[in-house]
């Protein structure tokens, strides 16, 4: 039996969602077609759009369906930058942080290659953004900033950031704010209107929908340029045939996540806290990252000294326990987390990181199994040392 404690990488598809998805996969009809079958498919999409809108606190017309988080981040960042920069050529600064997901960091870096200037808001060792730096920076150079993009919750540490403050500060300089809420959505309450951001990215597979569906929430008065051109779907911002089955599954998963939000936050929060405190008892040298901060309830990030993450992951995997060192990487290499480095940790402090993320299927038994396996694994991992 495998024990899955890597919800931040991807969550298991909920059985009810899988059924809904399969049902809609077998229905024919392009949501943009005129005939009755097209209309049926369109109805499924629009019903779902309302569900998603309700789930994130936005108007239905503000929901732009995408293929997932990376596409949403690309569309928001490039689209807002191009728009704002085309309106006012002086605006060529992108403000972000070093702890963003690569979908944001690499997009911003790409814009830098195209002539943008990138400024990083400092982040401290507890994951907190330096808001006064932002105030000072915008007071000085606010008229040159095209957009601010900062994640709502960090996918490695789970730390939730005060995006409402950020957008309030940016508003006085007419700077649109984008937030990657992929890690937050479904785990903490996300309210687009209340956050006051221009755009917000969410993704289905982190909340129990299949991979391949997500949404970018774009304010009705927000202008942004499209990354791709085509048939005009989704306010012309995201052309391409609508994924009706995916959209339906996404809405179903969002309904579950929202219905259970408070109860799950309490349950997973206490499971996570039990896990953290018992790990501290078993391994006193273990450090919990950002312990006092507001974090996603099911998210626990640890630093274990004198070992490397790949040894820990290997040993836990041998015990059929699936956890992570940081965000999943295509090359399969467990490098030192850019998030921890971005928070000011030295490489040597960050080599033995472990990210344990719980979700709707996680149980006391899962936590117990990890607590049983971890001390032995840690001892062996310490003997194996760090690779470098």
């Amino acid at each position: 039996m495998s024990i899955y404690l890597d919800y931040a990488a991807t969550a298991p598809v909920r059985p009810e969602v899988a059924l809904e998805y399969a049902r809609y996969l077998t229905l024919v009809g392009n949501p943009s077609s005129i005939h009755h079958l097209g209309q049926e498919a369109r109805r499924a999409v629009e019903e779902s759009r309302e569900v998603i809108a309700a789930a994130v606190g936005c108007h239905r017309s503000e929901v732009i369906f995408t293929s997932g988080g990376t596409e949403g981040d690309n569309l928001a960042i490039k689209g807002l930058y191009w728009q704002r920069n085309s309106e006012d050529a002086a605006r060529r600064i992108v403000v972000t942080s070093a702890v963003e997901h690569h979908a944001v960091l690499d997009t911003v870096e790409w814009l830098e290659g195209q002539g943008a200037e990138v400024q990083f808001i400092p982040v401290d060792r507890t994951g907190a953004l330096d808001i006064s730096w932002l105030e000072n920076f915008l007071a000085e150079r606010g008229a040159e900033v095209a957009l601010v993009t900062l994640m709502l919750a960090n996918n490695e540490t789970g730390v939730v950031s005060p995006l409402k403050n950020v957008s309030a500060i940016a508003a006085s300089y007419q700077i649109p704010v984008h937030t990657d809420a992929v890690a937050a959505f479904g785990h903490v309450a996300v309210n687009f209107a209340d956050l006051g951001v221009a755009a917000l990215t969410i993704s289905g597979h982190k909340i129990g929908a299949p991979v391949g569906i997500g949404a970018l929430i774009v304010g009705r008065r927000v202008k942004l340029q499209s990354v791709q051109q085509g048939g005009g779907q989704e306010r012309k911002l995201r052309p391409g045939t609508l994924n009706a089955a995916g959209v339906k599954a996404f809405a179903k998963a969002a309904e579950f996540a929202l219905d259970e939000l408070d109860a799950e936050a309490a349950r997973l929060g206490s499971l996570r806290d039990r896990l953290g405190s018992e790990i501290k008892q078993l391994i006193p040298s273990a450090e919990i990252t950002a312990p006092g901060k507001w974090r996603i309830p099911g998210s626990l990030h640890l630093r274990l000294p004198d070992c490397s993450s790949d040894s820990l992951l290997f040993l836990l995997d041998q015990a059929k326990i699936a956890v992570s060192a940081g965000s999943a990487c295509t090359a399969g290499v467990t490098g030192v987390s850019h998030v921890l480095l971005g928070m000011g940790y030295e490489e040597a402090e960050a080599t033995g990181s472990l990210r344990i993320t719980l979700g709707y299927n996680s149980s006391e038994a899962d936590v117990t199994a990890l607590l049983e396996a971890l001390p032995t694994a840690y001892e062996a991992a310490k003997r194996a040392g760090s690779n470098n």
Binding site: A331, G335, A384, N388
Partner: protein, 372 residues
């Protein structure tokens, strides 16, 4: 036993892992990420170190049904192999990075990690064989596939390392047989080309790469008696035995081509001379390792064979410890032996041990031939 199979993404290590599985061992595949900049992981296949190779290794592991992981040894690799390679060139020597990688990464860092994580042995796709003598001591021998034999680059292994080494493809008649076996096993790397280049040198041009790292450092080209023959752009651009690229305007007195005989980093001189002066009769080194049980009576000269490059011939020799040096005297002169290369001693097919060559003695003393 629990076997950690190092999988480079090539056909040899894939078949090695397959044979380990077939032998009934509990096998886990691991690919080493050795490149420091992830960018080079995206530049396509070069036989090792790229993302494509990592994927090839993973696909092979999938076909074999074994778990697979990528472990990052890039920092160790940079320090122990790449930086060492540069330092050796800077010291006027000609290093063998594959041998260093076996010595310090695969059979040191990786093996130690594997043992700590509960493995009993490390399997690699090297063409070499391990035999056990009557007293139970492990011995390293040449591969059956002589054309592919890699015992030379494993000559640095010590008894402790050999105790946990496992070379499943050592007993194989030829590389063709390995490719055919890979095909039969459904491994997609069956026809993947061999890698010959040094894995961390992107364009495969060692000299260019070294020049880039060490820059321009002009010095003099001299003959064996010290006559100044011209300028060189940096001694690290030359290796012993090299003929081309000297750009000496003036021909030798006898009109014969000149070869690099020696590199003197201290004085920044490149010594050149006639081909016969390349011949050496004695090699010696102080960095010594014994592959398995250390021979006894080392103060006396013993007969053996010595090989000084990966695909060179072994020649008859006598060896003994003289002070802290392993001194090797060859029966017939060897051409183009450079300090930094490893001299590996063999008795029959067995690898006895090796030394990194510190100095050589020319077969043609400077005052004997007349032609300096």
């Amino acid at each position: 036993m629990k076997v950690l199979a190092a999988m480079s993404g090539g056909v040899d290590s894939a078949v090695a892992a397959a044979r380990a599985v077939e032998a009934g061992h509990e096998v886990v595949g691991v690919h080493l990420a050795l490149s420091r900049s992830r960018g080079t992981l995206r530049t396509g296949s070069r036989g090792c170190c790229t993302i494509e190779d990592s994927m090839d290794a993973q696909r092979a592991a999938n076909v074999l049904g074994i778990p697979f992981y990528v472990w990052d040894f890039s920092e160790r690799f940079k320090e122990d192999v790449v930086d060492d390679f540069i330092a050796e060139y800077q010291a006027g020597r000609t290093p063998n990075p594959c041998l260093r990688c076996n010595e310090r990464i695969k059979f040191a860092a990786l093996l130690e990690k594997g043992l700590a994580l509960g493995f009993d042995a490390l399997a690699t796709g090297h063409y070499a064989t391990i035999l056990t003598d009557s007293a139970g001591n492990r011995e390293l021998h040449r591969s059956e596939a002589m054309a592919k034999d890699q015992s030379y680059v494993l000559g640095v292994l010590t008894a402790e390392q050999l105790a946990h080494a496992y070379f499943p493809i050592g007993i194989t008649a030829s590389k063709d047989q390995i490719r055919a076996e890979a095909e039969e096993r459904g491994l997609s790397v069956a026809n993947k080309p061999d890698s010959y280049d040094i894995c961390f040198i992107p364009e495969g041009d060692t000299q260019d790469w070294i020049n880039d790292k060490l820059g321009v450092n002009p010095g003099r080209i001299v003959d064996r008696v010290g006559n100044d023959l011209g300028e060189h752009p940096g001694y690290h651009s030359f290796t012993v035995g090299q003929r081309k690229g000297l750009h000496i305007g003036r021909p030798a007195d006898d009109g014969r081509p000149r070869f690099v005989l020696e590199i003197k980093p201290k004085t920044n001189e490149v010594v050149v001379g006639p081909k016969e002066a390349l011949a050496v009769i004695e090699l010696a080194g102080t960095r010594i390792s014994w592959c398995g049980k250390e021979p006894s009576g080392l103060e006396e000269f013993h007969s053996a064979e010595v090989q000084v490059r990966a695909h060179g011939e072994a020649v008859a020799c006598q060896f003994a410890m003289v002070g802290n040096e392993l001194v090797i005297r060859v029966a017939e002169p060897l051409l183009g032996v450079a300090p930094g290369q490893s001299a590996v001693l063999y008795v029959g097919t067995r690898v006895l041990g090796q030394t990194t060559i510190d100095r050589t003695v020319s077969a043609v003393p400077v005052d004997a031939g007349g032609s300096a």
